[in-house]
């Protein structure tokens, strides 16, 4: 045998030795649970807590929506309010209370009946609670108390009229379980299955198994009042590595991959049996300006560039940004150019401005000339001896950093010098609260009820002082406009949806005209799933919206296998085998190792020979 071949072979044997434990284990691969229809969703951050008072990530809220019922929900077609556990609801003529008719005959998973008393208990617990306010405090600031007048009637008394009553997203908890968990215990209460006992809930699924950092397993509630789910089990499986998640989807280990980065998304395109989907999502990104940082009482703080207090400068910058390029190059087309702060996913509320701040460097230059910022010899504009040199803080991550570089180039063309600095989101949060920035790149996800998002632009949400320290509130632009605040107060008490939408549109127009932000894009939510095996998804909103992780549980009730196959056939279908590309990668990898090994060995032999001589 040629010695090179022999060496290559020995390398291969060494590799084989390392895989030996693999081979023994191979013979004992565990069989999946038989006969059950299981739908597995890959997620990239674990549910941080299954206690609805504690969790914060979107995956956690999804688990609450699976386990519990809510008074109201959001329609799949257009995300507008729809009755849920409350089959109907009505504001009292005196506008001092709302009455919810609770569905009769609903049962908790332990057989106890679910009544309006459970709902009243849950709401009162949040209203009077301390820790319980953490996740839901904003929903109940206007609610005085909750009362169950009989088993099917819940009355919520309000301090003043408020439209949020149609959007109350607090999961209704079983009083007979939660009354034993007091205000202290609730803080560390895990709400996880113990000794094989599932969590008591009323939702379409019940949590039966939880392994932190690994998976959550839910069992369908076949008695669910909206109809039995067509699957028997639902599993959320955590992946910390997006490539591994994509592998798992191609192999059929999982059926749905949620929240994909665009490179992984592209790698899954055109794979047999897999459908990739870029869905409309209620999130936007922006370049936020320091509109003049101050505390809520008006005391100036921070070190923002004074020119940014000038609306004309902000408008010019907004018109120097080419949003189509950002969508194409930063999002790879998975989004659309943005203008106002309520995304078009909410058609009833979104304002499509009549005149848009489109990309027009000539116009931007013109605005700055007219506003009194002439260009200096070095091409940088200045006013009163202060140059237009602005800091732009972007967040770690390809998308934010790329946006920063584009903006820097575009602003150079209109005589503004930009210094881009990359930092962590945590560091940036701190800096924003102190008002120590000129511009930064970030975004928001807008809830179906726009109140929270609209409050971001009110004077009262600017930073505040506690002792000697300044703390951030919601405002990240320090926009403050008394007229806007007036409209905000007005909409907060407007319970007629049409009138409120009108106010919301006027508020968006105001913020848009004042260019508090230069909005960049609305981005999509990217997922991939096994369309060869599953069907029956309900998009929200129709037809381009998300398939899972919606407002309300819709798809989980209707997802079903493509056609009824015997378990054996399904198993056969899952066994995809290796694709030619994969084999190429593997062989390539082994070849690299082998060649490198041989080369090193040869070198060593030569060296040894030298030493001996």
């Amino acid at each position: 045998m040629h010695h090179l071949v022999r060496r290559a072979l020995s390398v291969a044997i060494a590799a084989g030795l390392l895989a030996a434990p693999a081979a023994t284990a191979l013979a004992q691969a565990p069989a999946p649970a038989q006969g059950k229809v299981t739908f597995t969703v890959g997620i990239q951050s674990d549910v941080d807590s299954t206690n609805p008072f504690t969790g914060i990530v979107v995956e956690a809220y999804e688990s609450y929506a699976l386990m519990y019922d809510y008074l109201v929900s959001s329609k799949p077609e257009d995300v507008s309010p729809m009755p849920s556990l409350a089959e109907s609801y009505q504001e009292a003529p005196d506008k001092k209370s709302w009455t919810y008719k609770i569905r009769a005959g609903v049962k908790w998973s332990d057989g106890q009946p679910l009544t309006a008393r459970d709902a009243a208990y849950t709401y009162n617990r949040v209203i009077k609670g301390d820790f319980e306010q953490t996740n839901y405090g904003n929903y109940v600031t206007n609610i005085e108390r909750a009362e169950a007048t009989d088993d099917t009637t819940l009355v919520l008394y309000v301090k003043k009229p408020t439209p949020i009553m149609e959007r109350l997203a607090i999961p209704i908890l079983p009083e007979h379980i939660w009354k034993d968990i007091d205000g202290t215990e609730v803080k560390s209460f895990a709400n996880e299955p113990e000794n094989g006992q599932p969590i008591v809930g009323s939702g379409p699924f019940r949590l039966v198994e939880r392994r932190k950092g690994q998976f959550l397993r839910f069992e369908a509630n076949k008695e669910y009042w909206r109809g039995a789910p067509k699957i028997d089990e639902l599993v959320f499986r955590v992946f910390l590595n997006a490539d591994a998640e994509a592998q798992a989807l191609t192999r059929g280990e999982i059926d749905f991959a949620y929240d994909l980065q665009s490179n992984v998304y592209e790698s899954l395109k055109n794979k047999p049996g897999i459908t990739t989907r870029s869905s409309q999502y209620p999130g936007f990104n922006e370049i936020a300006f320091n509109n003049g940082a101050a505390l809520a009482d008006g005391t100036p703080i921070g070190d923002g560039h004074p020119a940014l207090k000038d609306k004309q400068v902000r408008l010019a910058i907004s018109q120097a940004i080419d949003r189509d390029v950002l969508v194409e190059r930063v999002l790879q087309g998975h989004g659309s150019p943005a203008d106002t702060f309520i995304p078009p996913m909410y058609p009833a509320l979104h304002l499509d401005p009549a005149t848009k701040q489109t990309f027009d460097p000539a116009k931007a230059n013109q605005i700055l000339d007219a506003a009194g910022y002439p260009k200096g010899a070095d091409g940088v504009r200045a006013k009163d001896g202060k140059k237009l040199e602005l800091r732009l803080f972007v967040r770690e991550g390809a998308e934010s950093e790329a946006t920063g570089e584009f903006v820097k180039t575009w602003l150079k063309d209109i005589g503004i010098e930009v210094n881009v600095k990359v930092m962590s989101e945590d560091a940036l949060t701190e800096i924003i609260g102190q008002g120590e920035y000129d511009m930064f790149e970030w975004g928001w996800v807008v809830e179906p009820d726009p109140d929270y998002q609209m409050s971001v632009f009110t004077c009262g949400k600017r930073s505040y002082k506690d002792g000697d320290s300044i703390f951030a509130d919601l405002s990240d632009s320090f926009y403050c406009n008394p007229e806007y605040d007036k409209l905000y107060e007005q909409q907060a008490g407007e319970t007629d949806p049409a009138k409120r939408a009108e106010l919301a549109k006027r508020m968006q127009q105001m913020v848009y005209d004042d260019a508090a932000y230069a909005m960049t894009y609305y981005y999509n939510d990217m997922v991939a799933y096994r369309s060869d095996k599953w069907t029956g998804f309900v998009p929200q909103p129709a037809p381009d919206g998300s398939l899972l992780f919606q407002y309300g549980i819709h798809s989980y009730l209707t997802i079903e296998p493509v056609k009824a196959t015997s378990p054996a056939a399904a198993a056969a279908a899952e066994d995809g085998g290796m694709s030619p590309a994969l084999i190429a990668v593997v062989v390539g990898g082994l070849a690299v190792v082998a060649v490198a090994g041989v080369l090193v060995a040869r070198r060593r032999r030569t060296a040894d020979a030298d030493e001996r001589e």
Binding site: R7, L18, A22, Q28, P30, T134, G597, V600
Partner: protein, 334 residues
């Protein structure tokens, strides 16, 4: 000799110095370790209070929290440093403030992450050290031979590859193994659970073992090569011992010392986990927990995790020191 004895002054009663000999050695080592631990404990407390960041701001971000709630939370963190330090010293693991990110007691979080990490890294080190020592002995004894050349070549190449890359290649190359996690949902029963866990361990353990292997092989090989020229081996051969007896009884025990140090040092780091491999295989271990804690920063959690890491390293270094005294009596007699 006799004259010398007579002329020397009376040495007085013979004292056994307390801190010499084996007992002294042990006591010295243990007190050093305790001192180090105490230093780490104090240092950690102040280190994390120097970190910038607003933990409450971080906690409230994305929650529908009422402003009064925030003020209350802030008040908790604004207690005097002295009071906080006393509380911290009293029991660093039962910190009354929960982990900021997870909202649960830190020791509970750490506790559930320890075993996956010990299982993963411990098994890998065990496999890698047994295989590495064996390969090192084989190749060192026949230095420059074919076996030596390809072993060294292969292990060096494997050592040069980044862990995450080895992990990804294995993941893609061996599609019949699970792509991550420790267990399959819905598997019950003791035997099934053990088999299921072993099944999930194959890839991550292989990936880690590959990377550790080269270290043990090359250290073992190098220290054996050092022994090859020693006179006592010639003597052993001269006594008429067979070659493999010379190796097993004389060369290897002496050459093992540096490798033992390395193994114990690595065991100390076991607890720190293997962040990259844990990430590739979604293995919920301590490495990932510390990474998540650092992103906050989740100060209570960071304190517990750092303390645990320090304890791991200090305890295993102590073990290595004590074991040295057993393996090589010269160490404690100095």
């Amino acid at each position: 000799m006799a004259t010398a004895t007579v002329s020397s002054p009376d040495p007085g009663p013979v004292k056994t110095p307390f801190l010499t000999g084996t007992r002294g050695y042990v006591i010295r080592k243990i007190s050093w370790s305790l001192g180090t631990l105490l230093f780490v404990l104090v240092f950690n407390f102040f280190l994390f209070r120097l970190l910038p960041g607003d933990p409450i701001g971080l906690y409230s971000r994305g929650r529908n929290m009422a402003p009064e709630q925030l003020v209350k939370l802030r008040a908790q963190l604004n207690r005097p440093v002295g009071a906080q330090f006393l509380e911290y010293l009293s029991n660093p693991f039962a910190s009354t403030i929960n982990s900021v990110r997870f909202n649960r007691p830190v020791w509970e979080l750490v506790g559930e992450r320890v075993w996956p990490t010990v299982l993963l890294v411990g098994t890998s080190i065990l496999i890698a050290s047994v295989a590495g020592v064996w390969l090192g002995i084989r190749s060192g004894w026949r230095r420059g031979g074919t076996f030596d050349r390809w072993t060294t070549g292969t292990t060096n190449t494997l050592y040069a590859m980044p862990e995450f890359w080895v992990g990804m290649v294995l993941l893609i190359a061996l599609p019949f193994f699970p792509s991550g996690g420790i267990s399959t949902p819905g598997v019950t029963g003791l035997l099934d659970t053990i088999l299921d866990t072993a099944w999930h361990m194959v890839l991550p353990v292989t990936a880690l073992a590959i990377v550790y292997l080269a270290e043990y092989t090359s250290i073992m090989r190098a220290s054996l090569v050092d022994e090859l020229r020693q006179d006592y081996l010639q003597l052993a051969r001269a006594k008429g011992l067979r070659e493999d007896l010379v190796r097993r009884r004389h060369a290897v025990p002496n050459a093992l010392l540096p490798t033992m140090t390395l193994i114990f040092l690595n065991l100390g780091f076991v607890i720190g986990g293997a962040i990259t491999v844990e990430t590739v295989y979604s293995w919920p271990g301590l490495g990932l927990l510390s990474y998540e804690a650092l992103r906050g920063p989740d100060i209570p959690l960071l304190q517990a995790v750092f303390l645990l890491f320090s304890i791991g390293v200090v305890v295993f270094t102590l073990f290595a020191d004590l074991l040295y005294a057993v393996l090589d009596p010269r160490v404690s007699s100095q």
